[in-house]
Each structure stands twice: as C-alpha cells, then as structure tokens.
Amino acid sequence: MFSYYLQLGLRSLRRNPLLTALMVMAIGFGVAASMITYSVFRAVSGNPIPEKSEQLFIPQVDSWGPKYNLTGNEPPYALNYVDAMALMREHKAKRQTMLYPIGMSALPLGGQSIPFTVQGFTAQSDFFAMFDVPFLYGSAWGTAEDEQRAAVVVISRKLNDKLFGGANSLGREITLSGHNYRVVGVTENWNPKPRFFAVWGGSSFGEPSDIYIPISRALDLKIDTAGNNSCRGRIDYGDWDGWLQSNCVWVTPWVQLDSAAEVAQYRQFLEGYASDQQRAGRYGWAPNVRLRNVMQWLDYMQVVPQESSVSLLVALGFFAICLINTIGLLLAKFLRRASEIGVRRALGASRREIYMQYLIEAGSVGLAGGFLGLLLTALGISGVGLLFQPQIARLAHLDVALVGLTLLVSVFATVVAALYPTWRAAQVQPAWQLKSN
C-alpha cells in the first residue's frame, strides 16, 4: 500500500510541476538557511569539555571595588597577580592552575632560517590533567618543575612536526624568544571550542596553542601577557614589579572541585580570603566573589557571537514562513482534488487511507525539499567563509549528523505542515462531490 500511495503521490506531484517546484524550493531554502546558521551556532554554543564542565570552576574576587566594577557590581573577569598568587598558595582545591596567554618566537634548528611566532599559555602542572589534554609523547611537567621554575615546555603535535619532523622530541631543547626550554611532552591536536579556559584575554575560537610553559618560569623571565590587561585607577605602575603589585587583572585561575561540598567549601574559602583582605585594608569593600563552572562562565561571558544568534533566529523565522507557505500550497493542491477524494471515499476508502495517502505525498515533497536543502546547505557552508571572519566560518562544517538532521527536519516539518490540509482532505463529503459532478 505504501508504495502504491507513493506512486500516486509522485504522479500527482508531476501533474502540477510548478506548484511542486514551489513547495520543494520553499522547504529547501528554509531548511538550508536554518541548517547553515545552526551549524555555526552548534559549534560556538557547544560544551567544550562535557565530561568535566561541572567540575571546573573559575574563581573571581572583587579587587576593584564598587566604583570600578563591571555592570551589576560584577567583579573583574580575571585576577591581579597578588590575589592569584595568594589563592594558589592556599591550594584549597584538589587541582588548580593559573594561566595567561603568551606569544613568543621560535627559532628553528640549524640557525640560518627565519624565526616564526608561536602562541600558547603559561600554566601550572595541573593544567593538563584538569583539562584532559591528550599527549602524543611524554606528559605534563610536575609540581617540582613548577617550584623549581624549570625551563621546560610542552609543545603541540603541529609544532613538533614543524621543528622535529614528527619525531619523539622528549628531552630536546627548543629556543623560545631567546631562551632554551627542554621538551617534556608533546600534546595531540587539542583545541576545545570555544577555548573555555581563556575566554577573556584570549581568542575563544582561535588557532590551537603551540606551547605551554610553567607560569613560574614565565614570571621569572618577565614574559608579558599576550591577552588582556585591564587596570583601574592608577595606571602608572612604572616597571614590571610595579605592574605585578598593581590592580591590573590579567591572570586567569581555574580550580577543579568534584562535589557540591567541595564547591561550597571553596566558596567559603574565597569569601574568607576577601574578608581577610578587607580586614588587612587592601580592599575597602565587603567580600564580593564568584565561582562559576564552565558553562556558567561561557554563558556569562557571552561567548556565542551576536551574529550567530541573530542569524539563527532570522533563519528559523524564515523556515517558519516557508512552512506556512507550504501549508497553503498543500491545502490548495489537496482540495483541488476534492472530487477525486470523493470518488475514492465513495468506493470504500476510509478516512485513514486518505490520511495515509496524502501524508505520504507530503512526505515525498519534504524529502525532495530535504535533498535540495542539503545541496544548498553544502553550498552555503562553503560560502560562510566569504561572509564571516575565518575563525567563526571555520567552525561550520557538514557532517553525518547535520546531513541526517537536514533530511529529518524537512520530512518531519513537511508532514506536520501537511496535517491540516490532510485533515481537510479527509473531511471531504463523498456525496457532495459526486452530486456536483
């Protein structure tokens, strides 16, 4: 029966090619617009570390005071050097790291070639375990290296390929901005999107990092942050040490807290720290701290680009209009065949069979629209790069899930759109139709 109805449906669609083409195109365009914008939105709004996003927290402490704070008396996005060091020294979390982005130059071996830029982060040993960084060779450096301010480096697979031709480079030395570092680990390709751990002061959707070095070593060498440095009040810090003591915020802290009890404890600790600072006279205001986990942080920082949300919204509206259009056209198409329905009903077809027949017809329209939509989506995704900045455009890609979703959405939406026209078709009174002909 199914194949018979499908044949009937296809025949009916062929009988009025213009109307059919119109419906297929409406669905195709609507679904394509939605899928293209969704593919970008999906990439920018996803959870970058689903297994641990509930356990990783970013502590914020109000070091600016109500006069300078962000809207809603929100504390600064990062910590100043003094607070960051104090929180890390207390070590109240199982795992913790501070970090800031850096840009350095790397000198290829051989000496005669031209140096190139590498970018990455300063961090502490826990960084790699906390964020589940996969390793190709070696491993993270240990707490001993942190304390000894050791000149060690973890490099990315890409940089390892470039410098060492992909060989196991553990123990080899590389020169970064004029200083030598010993390679202790090579990471696999790793670049969470968005790069949640450096949303402020880094680029959320940037190129993967090439290097990671101990923050203690970086501070010894006075390596400046390549990210944001936000100061309030006096900006005349004079020199490096003055800057470290200033209220400029530029260090991002992360802690891993595995249970609700640990979270509560840590929050208490933060408040205790802030009131200690108030008592000591460093802060002239009441404790004002935040402890957000990964998704809360991404939400607060509004990582999803405005362009992405607005276009997704407009595209969904567009799809809705296409569906309303389809309802209208299906209604016209089905009711034009009222007499045919009347004959079928008179010959004994039940309402159920009418439903079946017309929904199958609609489904085939949806499927055709889905294939057109797929074609347009593929075209559109390759064209996103022409319209938007590469770091956003690069995120949009067509995968199996998206192909499946495109077809599913078009068939499902068309069948839903066909419900009302089909109901109207099933209501046709056989007697009326027979009489008037």
């Binding site: 140096p115 004029g178 020199d239 296409c322 016209a332």
Partner: protein
Amino acid sequence: MLQIKPILAALKRHKAGTILIALQIALTLAIVCNALFIIQQRVQRLSRPSGMNESNVLAITNRWVAVNDKDTASLTKTDVQALRQLPGVEDAMNTNSFPLRGGGWSTGVNLVPKENGKPAGQTTLYFVDEHALAVYGAQLIAGRNFTADEVIVADPKDIKSTPQVIVTKALADKLFPKGDALGKQMYLSGKDVPPSTIIGIVKQLQVPWSGIWANDFVENATLLPVQLTGSYGIYLIRAKPGQLAAVTKSAPEALLKTNRMRVISGERAIRTYEKVREDAYKNDRGMAILMGVICVILLAITAAGIVGLTSFWVGQRRKQIGVRRALGATKHDILSYFLTENLMIGIAGVVIGAGLAVGLNLWMVTQFEMARLSAVYVFAGVIALLLLGQAAVLAPAMRAAKVPPVEATRSV
C-alpha cells in the same frame, strides 16, 4: 471598492487560506523590517570614514626575537630609516596601532588631573612620530605637527603622557565644546599624570576598533610623540601611487635584510589598508549580505505563496465568476474584486506584522546590542508587502477576469 461586504462574506468561507496568507504576510513583514534595519545599521557602520587616506598604505607587524626590550628603540629607528629610503615608499613610521587595526590602547581623558571617577572623555592613544600625519594622510585643521625633537623614547609600561599632543576634532569638541581646544591643556587618566598641551587638531581619525562597544568614542584619538620600546610594533608605510604592490613585496624583504632576528609572520602580519578595512568589517558585511539574501528569498516565497493560493481560489470560483459576468459584471469588476480581496488580507497581515516587527525588535534589543527599530522601516515594509501582494495577485486575477460568462451555464 463597494465590494467589501461580499468579499468578507466570501473570505469567511475560506478561513484557512485567508489566515495562512495573512500570517505569512505578517511574519514576512516582521522579519524583513528587522533584516532591513540590521542591514542599514551594518552598512552605516562599515561606511564610516577612518580619517586616513586609505589608498597606498601598508601595515607590517614586527616582533623582535631575542632582543632586550630596551635595545629595540635603536633597531626600530634603523628599520624606519631603511623603509623611508626604499624606492616606491613615500613615508613610513613605527606606531602601536592605527585606525581599524583591531587592537590598541584606550584611556580616559580629563580637563583637570583626575585619578578616579568617570573621565570627561574616552580616547585611543597612538604613539607616533612627526611623520604620522603624512603616513596616515590625516588632515591637520588647526595648529601644527610634532617636531622631530619632541619625539621621546619610552617604555610602554612607563609612559604617562607627553607635553604635546595632537587630537582629533571629535575629541577636541568633546573636551572643549566652544571650539577653542588649540593650546589648551588636557590630562590623561591616572595618578600624577602631567598635563598635555593640544598643539594640533586633525579633522578625523578613527579608533582601532570596529566593534559596537567603541561607538561612543569612535573618532576620539590622541597622537603622542613617542617611540615605544618593546619587542612588538607596527610599521605603517605610505607607498607612492601605483607602488603599493611592489612595496608589499620589497618592504618585508628590506626589513629582514636589515636584521634577521625578527618575526613577520601570521595571517595579519602584512596587510594593505584595503585588507585591514575588509577584516575589520567582515562580519558586518557578511551579516548585511546574509540578511539581504534572506529578504529577497523570503519576499519571493511569500509572493509565490500568494500566487499559488489565489490561483486555487480562482479555479474554485470559476462558476461564481461566470455567474457574476453573466449578470453584468465587467472584466474590470472581477479584476478589482481579487485585488481588493488581497488588499484586505494584506492589510490584516501588515497590521499584525507591524506589531510583530516591533515586538521582535524590542526582544532583540534586550538580548543583543541592537538599536530600536525606527518607524520608517516598518512603514516601508508595510508598503512593500502590500505592493508585493497586489503584484502577486495580478496574474491569477487577470486569469479570473478572462473567465467567460458562459461558464455559468456549464455542468450545473
């Protein structure tokens, strides 16, 4: 126009179709209005002048390798001299940033020394030398340029202010609304910052940022005669007319020949100003184009929907049309019947749609940094959709008008 009553009666018998068309018109209006508004906002932003003479400008980002920060001043000087002597180069300078670059410095500025509190104005800082006006191609409208001996060498972490500054007219007018800024003193925010005398005013120079957040001070720039030390800097080069392509190739080569221990790599290291502008406004232009495409397709689909449903109605009503024609209605009467019918549905649709358009905009204002929709767009959208409806209905209506009176007698 006297047919309104019978039309209403007829529409009552076609509720579903009527509602569908009205709803489609309403939603289309809501989206098209907002899309047009977004397009206008973006186009307005990306057509802002930078204040520079944008042709023949090249920017090279340089990072020194294994050089003590303090030693970079003399290296930079050698570089700039080498660049200025390069054939095809008109002028060149070292700076921390330039309009639309995408990153730079900003600070508060006041009329009195002020450490805390809200500043009188916000400005970006460009650390430049006496060649800046020539390289930018900025127009000095009052006062004078820096002299070579006013340019000091300073560490980026140490610089508070300079005795002389050149400001843009926008900043001068913000600080001194009476227009007498030249020769007056201003203070950059911070503790114990010495005053700066405004020695010159340039007509226009944009900040390095193109984002919405910088809209409030987009033309407030301050030029300071400072050669910054540090490993990171930008060479801004003005090529002689027609020489830009040659200089784009020769300038980085000349720099590497002068000193190999530097990095000039990455997507954004060497950019002509045309590319700078394209990068700065890429998302804005992309958004405008996307919205434009969506508007066109949307209007086409809505028009097609109206054609489809009206054709169906005409087909359904052939007999009634025949009866009317037999009873003396002219072709013109039939035509105007369908046009009026569509106009009525259209009016219902645009009334709902105008409400939706404003509602959608208000919601977007709360969700995104979006301006309030002006009534002009809603009005323009209403007219456009009503005209679109009339145009779409024309073909089926004309077919209806051609129905012969004899149709009334058939197959009853």
